[in-house]
Amino acid sequence: MKALTFSLIAEPDQRLDLTPLTPAALTGLTVSQIEKLRLGAGRDGLLVGDVFRLSGKDANNVVIEGGSARFDRIGAGMASGHIRVNGNIGSQAGRKMSGGAVMIEGNTGDHAGSGMSGGRVEIRGNAGNNVGGPVAGELTGMEGGVLIVRGKAGDYVGDRLRRGIIAVLKGCGDYAGYRMIAGTIVVTGRVGAMPGYLMKRGSLLFDRRPEQLSPTFVPCGEPEIAFSGLFDRYLVDENITDRPLLGPRPGRYGGDNAVSGKGEILYRRGR
């Protein structure tokens, strides 16, 4: 059965909340029912039929052909199924997602994967700030799942990360792993200032020595640990990276000593 495809008719003149377009929410709906789903807010909130032309029937596989920076919350609350977006999108993609997979073939705005607890989000382009981070007023960020950014990410990657893996493959901005509670963040490429600032536990894994560390991270030598080999293999097996990240005997910093000092930064030596 062909994937349920939403082809963009024209760039909308308002921000749209695409939360209703998850596989579980669309299953069992007729085309006319889907076309009447409301995506826009306000006095003249747009309906699905105003923005997209529909084709295909397999609601478990949703394809959005044509993106817009005004498409917010794609895959929000999703628990199963697949969504693929061919284009750029707005903020909060995969927000509070607990299962399934979202593939974005372009760039995303802020808070991609915010608060997700399961599933897999893959962003082929760049992501904005606060990847996996909480929105205003929330106490925890991402709580599980895998979030991959194949391009660059902005500041505050993995803010308040509690569980799960975030991988950024072309570098990130400042404060990666800010207020991390646990979990793992992988960054290949240049890392901005103060990675791990206020982190309590968890691991930041880099392919090079970080340049601007807080003085509350102290060098802990080059321990021979099994974890680096295991995790390198996991990254390659899951098609997250195409070669080992840390190698044997990675360098290690411990911190953030301003908090509990139980977090770590592991990096590949020699770069």
């Binding site: 003149d13 205003a136 207020r179 600032y197 003085p215 000593n257 301003a258």
Partner: protein, 365 residues
């Protein structure tokens, strides 16, 4: 003197009200950038709610950074009066905005009459970024003891200080940490004074963590000095009315807070809004070059450039009485007019706009 214009033509006030009301009624997504006293803010927010619009402060970018400290982190705060009377140890953090210097200099001429009764001591935590001339002079007048770390930025100094005060290892030395540690042990109520201009959000979160650490053994707090008192007053008024700070929208009739989505300047720039209502009792002008219908309620003697409708309004505390936030007392205060004029208040104009809309209902405030 004319107080209302359609385009650049002076018109009677009621004609301008009718024209503005037509624009508001036909707008699909009106946004409000406001800068007014409490009454003007309340009326404007009520109008935005009725029209399903969004609102932000004119200084929304600065205010959003200040609000983020509270929404993303939280902290321990006290009032300036409590700090002045009770604290024998004041620690300034980063750059304190010049409008607050007088208040702090006044504190330096007094001694706490409550608390431990000790002589008041002053410290300053600074980063590698060069301080402004005003701040350098201010610190000299207060005779602050500097806490610095060479090339370290402020957020790194705060992190290092927090670790050192807990007896943990750091990789860079900090000046005068032991002296501050001794002063903290001696003082019963140390107070850290900071502003959103003091440093990045992460550094201010570290500062609040440091204060939380101190509260495990004793008592410590902070005084937050906003970059702009009127903007902070708008934030508090908005919280009181909607439960959220500015950058709140009423798209689904209920208020929703989103500092990115409801950034009105961004909405205007990205053409997500079709009508911009600019309210500035201080006479601030909207950014130029925006091709969007504009209603301007501004303290001006001439029409606002590119505005479809301009109505001149007065400023609370100058043209008419009003209520505004004062960081000196840490709450709202009544303001008496100093140069009473015939310029209408923001609140009265917004009320007239509401009455001119279809349905002709008064606003609740």
């Amino acid at each position: 003197m004319s107080v209302a214009w359609i385009g650049s033509q002076p018109v009677p006030l009621m004609d301008a009200i009718q024209k503005a009301a037509k624009l508001l009624a036909s707008s699909h997504c009106p946004v409000f950038s406001l800068d007014a006293d409490v009454h003007g803010t309340r009326s404007t927010i009520a109008l935005a709610e009725r029209l399903g619009g969004a609102f932000d402060h004119v200084y929304g970018e600065t205010l959003a950074r200040e609000v983020a400290l509270f929404t993303d982190n939280g902290g321990m705060f006290t009032t300036p009066g409590e700090a002045r009377r009770r604290s024998s140890l004041i620690v300034l953090v980063g750059e304190i905005p010049a409008p607050h210097h007088d208040m702090l200099l006044a504190w330096s001429n007094t001694q706490p009459d409550l608390g431990d009764g000790g002589q008041r001591a002053w410290f300053h935590i600074g980063g590698a970024a060069p301080a402004s001339r005003a701040t350098r002079q201010f610190n000299r007048q207060l005779k602050t003891v500097p806490i610095t770390g060479g090339d370290l930025p402020l957020s790194a100094v705060l992190a290092g200080l927090r670790a050192r005060l807990q007896g943990r290892q750091v990789t860079s030395p900090l000046a005068n940490v032991d002296r501050l540690g001794a002063a903290l042990n001696k003082s019963q109520f140390p107070v850290f004074v900071f502003s959103s201009t003091s440093g990045e959000a992460a550094g201010l979160a570290m500062l609040q963590g440091l204060i939380a650490d101190l509260n495990r053994k004793g008592r410590a707090s902070s005084v937050f000095l906003p970059a702009d008192d009127d903007a902070w007053g708008t934030a508090l008024t908005s919280l009181w009315m909607t439960g959220f700070p500015p950058r709140t929208g009423f798209a689904n009739s209920l208020p929703s807070y989103d500092p990115v989505r409801w950034d009105t300047q961004r909405m205007v720039r990205d053409k997500e809004a079709d009508l911009h209502v600019w309210v500035s009792a201080r006479g601030e002008m909207p950014p130029k070059g925006r091709k969007i219908k504009l209603i301007s309620l501004s303290r001006a003697e001439a029409p606002t450039a590119n505005a479809t409708v301009t109505i001149a309004v007065g400023k609370a505390g100058r043209d008419h009485d009003g209520v505004a936030y004062s960081s000196r007392i840490g709450t709202f205060q009544a303001l008496a007019a100093t140069e009473r004029s015939s310029l209408p208040s923001v609140s009265s104009i917004v009320q007239q706009l509401a009455r001119a809309l279809p349905g002709r209902q008064d606003l609740p405030c």
